[in-house]
């Protein structure tokens, strides 16, 4: 039994309008202010690419851990993974604008800076482009391979088929974490080429996980309106909300660790990154980031009762996604527009909406073609048969 997502086509059509209007505005912005276009585009791109990458990581984790929470959102994760190869195309404007975005591409600047001169072997345009191509090749191969071997339901497949998808996921997760860490360094951390933080990649990966769980849980709730989903039980929804909660807790833990280490080390070559983010209007964004990404969602997701209310969880997920887009601005813009009195350019708003809508249109079209939700595991679970297979015990 499977229930296809027939409403996906209409959601896809709804996404096309904001995507088209946004793309038009971005073209206008490109003609008006080229460097700003590329910077805003990078922020929007980092926001959008986080979702399919998060879907890839979460699916591989679920292949290893098992659990009904993963089967509940499996079709959404799969549709998310399918968008990954296409995200390489949307990266092209970033690649074209690399010299407008990243200060280390400025030869004048690098020539008079011993630190940047020392980093030139890594931070140079051809190698940077090559690495980006390598990341996308790796992620595309990994996602296509995974989609080929993924099993449609907890009870499907032979033991050896279950094992091979687990082995692929174990190796894939290792490559995934390494490659996304390097991508985070290349695409976000190198915006301030003097700065270094070894925990930065982990913060970005945690952002992927929050994005993926928000989108998958929101999709689950959204499609349940038109096609009731047998997996959407109060226990499964509770688990998914707990994963969102775990995401913001991890985000808080990692972000605070980075801040604390740099703050207590008190070395000028590290602290300036936070100093830049305390100048002008950025001070307010820096103040609100921990409140919006941690304090507020922490309080919103604390109650077990509220974690099981579908419309409420949907709204919290949407809120978390907005903050994901905001954090990309916080990563990129303060270093490029030092001490700006008003932090945001209008394109900083348009870019994540455009790229988010484009991604969503792609996602919904893959979702429309998906075979739907897997059949629930068995008819009844008793003490004799633990229901979380495969990957339970061998």
């Amino acid at each position: 039994m499977s229930l296809a997502f027939s409403a996906a086509a209409s959601y896809k059509r709804k996404m096309l309008l904001p995507a088209a209007v946004g793309a038009g505005l971005m073209v206008f912005g490109f003609l008006l202010n080229r460097p700003q276009f590329f910077q805003s585009y990078l922020q929007g791109y980092l926001f959008a690419v986080a979702i399919p990458l998060g879907c890839l990581g979460v699916t591989m984790i679920h292949n290893l851990s098992g659990g009904n929470w993963g089967w509940t959102i499996r079709p959404f994760l799969e549709a998310g993974i399918k968008t990954l190869p296409a995200m390489a195309l949307l990266f092209i404007p970033v690649a074209l604008g690399v010299t407008s975005i990243f200060p280390w591409t400025n030869h004048e600047l690098v020539a008079h800076d011993p630190v940047l001169l020392g980093k030139e072997a890594y931070l140079n345009v051809p190698f940077w482009l090559g690495r980006a191509a390598f990341y996308f090749a790796l992620w595309s191969i990994l996602s296509l391979w995974l989609l080929r071997w993924l099993l449609p339901s907890p009870t499907a497949g032979t033991l050896s088929q279950q094992h091979r998808v687990q082995r692929l996921s174990a190796g894939g997760l290792l490559l995934f974490v390494l490659s996304t860490s390097f991508a985070a360094i290349d695409w976000a951390m190198s915006i301030e080429p003097h700065w270094f933080s070894s925990i930065f990649g982990v913060i970005v990966i945690v952002g992927y996980v929050i994005s993926a769980f928000s989108v998958a849980t929101m999709s689950l709730i959204l499609f349940n309106n038109t096609t009731p989903n047998p997996w959407l039980t109060s226990k499964n929804l509770h688990d998914l909300s707990k994963f969102m909660f775990m995401g913001i807790m991890l985000w808080g833990y990692m972000s605070l660790s980075q801040f604390l280490i740099i703050w207590s080390g008190n070395l000028p070559e590290e602290t300036f990154w936070y100093y830049e983010r305390s100048l002008g209007g950025w001070w307010w964004l820096s103040l609100f980031m921990p409140i919006l990404q941690w304090v507020l969602p922490f309080c919103l997701l604390l109650s077990a009762k509220m974690k099981k209310k579908a419309p409420y969880v949907f709204k919290v997920g949407a809120f978390l996604l907005v903050v994901r887009a905001l954090e990309q601005v916080w990563f990129i813009s303060p270093s490029l527009r030092l001490g700006a009195a008003f932090p945001f350019h209008w394109m900083d708003l348009v870019a994540p909406v455009t790229l988010g809508a484009l991604w969503a249109a792609l996602y919904f079209s893959f979702l429309g073609g998906s075979s739907g939700v897997p059949a629930p595991a068995g008819h009844a679970h008793t003490a004799h048969e633990p229901q979380d297979q495969p990957g339970g015990k061998h």
Binding site: L256, L260, N266
Partner: protein, 181 residues
């Protein structure tokens, strides 16, 4: 005691073989208006309390209180020691170095939350409890293996031995057992 009182029965338990039948039955027990009820299972069945309509445990609020106590005492302790009682200049940092307070605030919040959760659970469950009337039912041993039970206690205002027994029978359990006190 001037009149012979029949020893009051503790209640009735009905035995089921699957989680699904247990949850179905729990909903019917709730809809029939029984309040002093409970379920017993070999592994945690989180939905059971919702199905019984019994999700008003005070433990969540106690844990929140424990967490807030931990947070406030960690902040208070560090502030008192570093700013008021024994101010020392550490590497030129301000006395009120609040970023460094976070690790201790986090740890104490977790510690007191977990302590409240564990000891609060034990206290609210009235443990340790070496004797319980349910042990009088031999079949109840299967609650640790492969059976799922719903109990209706005789303190329930709607409880009536014959009526409640036939009600439980109507839920198609494997068996209904009287629990002697």
């Amino acid at each position: 005691m001037d009149k012979a009182v029949e020893p009051k029965i503790f209640g009735l338990i009905a035995e089921f073989t699957t989680v699904e039948t247990l949850l179905e039955a729990a909903k019917k027990v709730r809809d029939a208006g029984y309040k002093n009820t409970d379920t017993y299972s070999p592994f945690p069945v989180e939905e059971a309390l919702d199905c019984l309509g019994q999700h008003h445990s005070r433990i969540a609020w106690l844990i929140l209180l424990g967490g807030i106590t931990g947070l406030a005492s960690a902040f208070g302790l560090q502030f008192f020691v570093a700013v008021i009682d024994y101010p020392i200049n550490v590497g030129g940092r301000p006395l009120f170095s609040w970023p460094m307070y976070f690790p201790i605030m986090f740890e104490l919040t977790v510690l007191l939350s977990v302590f409240t959760a564990v000891f609060g659970m034990i206290g609210l469950n009235r443990l340790p409890q070496p004797y319980h009337p349910l042990f009088n039912v031999p079949e109840f041993a299967r609650a640790s293996k492969d059976s799922f039970f719903i109990g209706i206690e005789s303190t329930d205002p709607k409880f009536d031995l014959a009526g409640t027994k036939s009600f439980l029978q109507s839920l198609h359990p494997r068996g209904v057992h009287e629990v002697q006190p």
